[in-house]
Amino acid sequence: MIRVQREVFDVGREIAALTAGNTRIGGVASFVGLVRDLGGLRSMTLEHYPGMTERQLEKIDAEAHRRWPLEASLIVHRYGRLEPGEPIVLTITASAHRQAAFDSCNFLMDWLKTEAPFWKREEGADGERWVAAREDDDEARERWRETG
């Protein structure tokens, strides 16, 4: 499942909803990305491409299910204006096996970073600027390339 929203999310509630009634699940991995303040950050505004965002998140989510034996998964990505410390993104994967949960959750985050059409603009003491893409995000994504 995927969701794109302005509102904050509650990790505990999302995990509970995702796993309710499914006793085949042995492990639930989750990741929350937060607005980090490296100094003087006032806010971060996330712009996205409505329509394409949902489409890409659905694809990434489906790819995780193709690669790992998942019982359930969730991607929630926020947009709009966020302050330091606020959550930006949540990924949850549930599987019978803990390593499948860990790996697929890691995979979702790496792919999100390079495949989901979001752009961050930071507002600091000296004005606003668009955040540049990171090369190590590309490298992280490349780890999951299927060979052979």
Partner: protein
């Protein structure tokens, strides 16, 4: 054909979307960029450094040789920074 701009490409373009009708020979994203860049100074600047421009055709990531045609939605944006 619907054109969308995001992030700082939108700032440079001075608009978030527009409807364009490129000449019939404009069959790929690359050709579309050539045509757009030639339309006015503002667009010339948007596409000045094409290495930092990414694009999507009908909401899927595309390459310079991805085909485009009337009715398509073509978006231009910088490398994504979500997550």
């Amino acid at each position: 054909m619907k054109i969308l701009y995001f992030a700082w490409l939108r700032d440079k373009a001075g608009m978030s979307e527009c409807e364009v009708s490129p000449p019939p020979g404009t069959a790929t994203v690359g050709a579309l960029i050539d045509w757009l860049a030639a339309q006015d100074e503002c667009h010339a600047e948007v596409f000045a450094d094409r290495s930092v421009v990414r694009f999507a055709v009908n909401q899927d990531f595309a390459e310079a040789d991805t085909p485009v045609g009337p009715g398509d939605e073509v978006a231009f944006f910088p490398p994504v920074t979500g997550g």
